[in-house]
Point group: C2
């Protein structure tokens, strides 16, 4: 898509906090989420983040002045679900974005009507941005795939299919939780290499994975593949995504059909979906390392090569229980760039997913896979940062970690920043580990 | 559960076709499904199969005489979804079964009121029995796992984890279709061992897999495992399930994260859920081949050993387009016994699935994995029956098959039969292969 007035870096909002240079949610962002007043008993509502406020779209529908087509889009959201907006593809989303940008910008005549529709973000609870349908996790981070492969196969880290096939597998939807929800350490079967029999016990190698989540907008019919250059019309937006992983359970269970219980105890998603429109100023070329073949034709196009990637900066931060108790801030574990980390674009993942006829539906989720940078300190998981648990990380307060301990809070952050554009951010994607249930039975 | 009057083999129905010894749906069965009149525009309704008829439960709610608690259960089904009945666990299901058994049995005073609530099964379209939430496919058929493993690793067919871990992986829900819906041959990447690069083309090794589907009733909360002996209280019932598989796509894509596009183009489910109550007379001991260790304690109990399995006979039948054109009947490809084929019971699959805290929800599906018998001719897939495509099967009309051809119709059948019990069946699970879309783009 081309940039329009909603992307103007000089655009300012009458919501003062949206003009703070440090906010994730300036008027150029306008991400969607589901919220409810922390003190209210009524259901979830759709909102848009603006500065440190949420614009309640149901209230805005009633109080604002909207053209008939915008009012129709807002009416579809009144039930508290994003699905109708997602299913409509880019057109209604762009229409609503333009209308909201105009209504929230400095000098808008809607200020008086919409001011009562704002709630402080501190006064609301946030759910997952939509009900997740099917969830697929990909493995598009080539440096992650290489680093993890090296732990198992030092001489041959990348399997031969990696450079041809966007490797992915189906994940578990029911256990995807919103940021802030506690994550219980899983019990499971593990077997140490020296042991002859497995044990059933709490995981001792609990890890995080720094990923992006791509939410599907308009779906496709079963048996009807989506061509690469049409794929972005089926993407609604992007979130942060932490694919918590129990490495010891994974190592014992994953042959021959892939990870299962090692992944399905929880995944954490950030509550605000940043739309493809908000990301339009931050598109980047697909940056594949040299020495790999061109993709097969169904996964290749000039647009995808030149602008298929998203230039998103990513970080993972850890705060242990001791750090929290001492009032010490979180420690940055690593940072990386999504555009440099990913061997495949979101459009390639979606086109591949549908190439055999699989139908995607509004609210389906595609995980990117762990987006580790090229350098070891840019790794998006503890498995990589500690060389498979062999090299502990020393934290500023003297604590050490190979894997996550009970009480640890792991937070992902993400933002886009470029000269000539207003910085936009993704909000919080955070979870705290709580102890496993007793294994006795 | 103990057997009660609903299981009495001498119980007869005033619906004459239900007394036919060959019917899948005698009054002792009473499976649930979703139907609509083939000529009607209104939505799906919940029905119960009885002989060659469907009892429309919405109509029956209005026309029949029911106790208040049965009427409340029927009220929950009035919207055309099984979910409320599933979520309630065994109690409301047993209550409704008893009431329906009484109302449909010979001599019932409800005959006059309910007769108008019957529709011939030939006059209705059948959907999936419920909206499927998350779908997990297991690998519980040890003879299948051994036979497939032999094709890859002749000396070491079963991996070391198989006898300890109920191996499973997450599958795709959106592409699960009801019996009778055509299945389009998938396009996909494949690479022959001799080639240096893959090609993108229609699958040449399209296969079926003979499985059972276990539908989840009451769910569990995230982080809250279900103990083995409570697991059956979370199972609603059983269907036939064909996990169509593209073996050439699978071989190229499945390392290291498991099957993906090779499975997610379609899976076919039979439309009637046979409840755990209907299966109560057909429970069997867990029959594990000798030489394997006892399960870990969280997967072991006396009840599970003695009665954990289901004694279900299974068959796969093939009718090619040429056979259909010539009026020739389908050819039986194989037959097996679920109780003999499965290394793990449904309760073990469910207990394992939740042992790390993963939450199951009403309408979730657990596939058994391919239920091949011990002998080669009892195999539940063409991959096994043709030794990996090397030994074609000769059909009665002279045609040969290694894998499925366009126009082939593959049907699964299943039933339970024991002295002292009335035979019950699972109905039809059938799909016809249609040609792949053009790969040109």
């Amino acid at each position: 898509m081309t940039l329009d007035s909603t992307h103007d870096p000089d655009l300012r909002s009458w919501v003062a906090s949206a003009n703070d240079p440090a906010t994730d949610f300036p008027i150029q962002n306008l991400p969607f989420g589901r919220f409810r007043r922390a003190d209210a008993l009524d259901g979830w509502r759709i909102g848009v983040a603006i500065g440190d406020q949420v614009l309640d779209l149901r209230a805005a529908q009633e109080c604002g002045r909207w053209t008939a087509d915008v009012a129709a889009v807002l009416e579809g959201l009144a039930g508290g679900e994003l699905k109708s907006l997602m299913a409509g593809g880019p057109k209604p989303r762009r229409l609503l974005r333009s209308a909201l940008s105009e209504a929230l910008c400095d000098g808008s005549q809607q200020r008086g009507a919409l001011q009562p529709c704002l709630l402080p973000q501190t006064a609301v609870a946030l759910a997952l941005p939509c009900a997740i349908g099917d969830y697929t996790d990909f493995y598009a981070g080539i440096h992650h795939a290489t680093a993890v492969g090296k732990l198992f196969r030092p001489d041959n880290p990348l399997l031969p299919n990696y450079e041809w096939v966007p490797i992915g597998y189906h994940g578990r939807s029911s256990s995807i939780v919103a940021s802030g929800q506690a994550v219980r350490r899983p019990l499971g079967q593990t077997k140490s290499p020296a042991a002859t029999t497995p044990v059933f016990a709490p995981s001792q190698r609990l890890d995080y994975e720094l990923e992006l989540g791509f939410l599907v907008g308009a779906g496709n019919a079963l048996g009807d593949p989506v061509a690469l250059d049409a794929a972005e019309d089926h993407l609604f937006g992007v979130t942060l995504f932490n694919d918590w992983s129990a490495r010891d359970i994974q190592a014992w269970e994953y042959q021959p059909l892939g990870p299962f219980l090692s992944k399905n105890f929880a995944s954490t998603m950030s509550p605000w979906v940043v739309t493809l429109e908000a990301l339009a100023p931050f598109r980047a070329p697909l940056s594949r390392p040299a020495g790999h073949p061109d993709p097969l034709p169904y996964l290749d196009s000039p647009h995808n090569r030149q602008r298929g990637a998203f230039d998103i900066q990513l970080e993972a931060w850890l705060q242990t229980a001791a750090m929290r108790a001492a009032g010490e801030p979180p420690h940055r574990m690593s940072s990386s760039s999504a555009a440099e980390a990913a061997f495949w674009t979101a459009a390639q993942l979606l086109a591949h997913h549908t190439c055999g006829g699989c139908n995607l539906q509004p609210g389906d989720l595609l995980g990117s896979g762990t987006l580790s940078g090229l350098r070891p300190e840019q790794a998006g998981s503890l498995l990589e940062l500690t060389s498979g648990g062999k090299e502990p990380i020393r934290l500023p307060n003297g604590e050490q970690r190979t894997f996550l301990a009970d009480g640890d809070t792991l937070s992902l952050r993400g933002w886009c920043e470029r000269p000539g554009s207003r910085r936009i951010g993704f909000g919080e994607c955070s979870g705290t580990i709580v102890a496993a249930p007793s294994p006795a039975r």
